[in-house]
Amino acid sequence: MRFYEYEAKVLLGRQGVPLPKGSNAKTPEEAEQVAGQIGGSLVLKSQVLTGGRMKAGGIKFATSPQEARKEAAGILALAINGQKPRSVLVEGRAAVRQEFYVGVIYDALAKRPLLILSDMGGIDIEEVAERHPEHIARLHLSTLVPFQDYQAKEVISNLGITGNRLTRMTPILARLVRLFLQYNLTLAEINPLAELEDGSFLCLDCHLDMEEEARDRHARLLQELGIGRDESRQARPPTPFEVRGAQVDAIDTRGVAGRVVEFDGDLGLIIGAGGGSLTLLDAVRKHGGRPANYCEIGGNPSVRKASELTKLVLSKPGVEKIAVMMNVVSNTRVDMMARGVIKGVIESGYDPKEKIAIFRIPGSWEDEGFKILRKYGVEYVDRTVSLDEAARRAVVKMGRR
């Protein structure tokens, strides 16, 4: 879940990270008022959940409240990557001596957070990593042992930074790390962290993403920031297909049958269980399949939910067959899933044995589930067939290999 820049700066400010003087404005009039309070040279930034603001004209500069009002009106009317701005952030413009990049990401391979610092800020860190790897310092962090300031110092000094700069940067890095850990963030980035002419540091721009599953844990914080439970906060707005997926999941409280993401393939996926969704999506692609969607099933959804999800996937133009595949499950009953999927296929007007490329859900009540599948002539496999092999067989049924 991505935060708008102005929200991210509220969090960073609470943590003690130095920020430019500024405020969020929803109208050109508010922007003019804020600009009057700040005075001097100003920067106005479109508040959208997408990158490329500068190139798109979403960041402007002004030297007076009147100019700020005019620029704010332009920014508020400008959609960037299809997104209308929520507001405009008005801040004082600082004279910068050098720009740095500071980021904390979750390194999925190392299964640990990773602190990254570069003395080449203001540009994409990926570009710096590729072209100037000597300008990047990294440190893997523990999620169990509290972060210590000396660890930040080590990272900074690895770039040859010493003296006052080292002293001033240390708390900023440490606070960013603590923010990342405290709020279950998946990304906490300050870019650029600016060193000003007087030697002080300011966070000029930032990007915070919170783990979607952590929203309930931080409900109070999100409420304080005015973030509603219904705000998806994804990088792009959900498609009508994805919105309907969320509606299916909301039919009742039993289990999960939703989290749908739309793709343009022809093989519908009814997948899930213990990380199975991502694995299976990758497996289908590895074998040359073209998934029509991603979804997540688990926690024993009702027959109705499984059925409605199946109908939704089958209603997608271009979907020729569906593959029903899950990890070995202990908390989702195979027979209930079999009922839901078959019901969904039949109510969509199709023959289950033609439409279901493969059914691979082993686990609790599988004997009962297999009886149902047998009755409708659906090919099913048990746990002796791996997820990878099941995905391959589904792709073969599509005539791809």
């Binding site: 027959v303 109705r304 009922r339 009886k371 149902i372």
Partner: protein, 72 residues
């Protein structure tokens, strides 16, 4: 229309308000409801949600409440 499960309730149970209430109470997926006259009614759209827990059958004399799997 239910595709996987059918439930039969003997008239001796279905017509008794107290027994009907008991049926409504034991079912975890709301397959039973009470009519305005307090006799039992089977909620057709919930039949396929039956989790085969057998609580309804066990709560009454043998043979009076039967859960039939339509796929066997």
């Amino acid at each position: 229309m239910a595709m996987f499960v059918r439930v039969e309730v003997a008239p001796s149970v279905a017509s008794q308000p107290e027994l009907a209430r008991k049926l409504v109470e034991v079912c975890p997926v709301d397959i039973f409801a009470q009519n305005p006259d307090r006799t039992v009614r089977i909620v057709e759209e919930n039949l396929d949600e039956c989790v085969l827990c057998d609580l309804c059958s066990q709560a009454f004399p043998p043979g009076t409440v039967r859960v039939i799997k339509l796929y066997e």
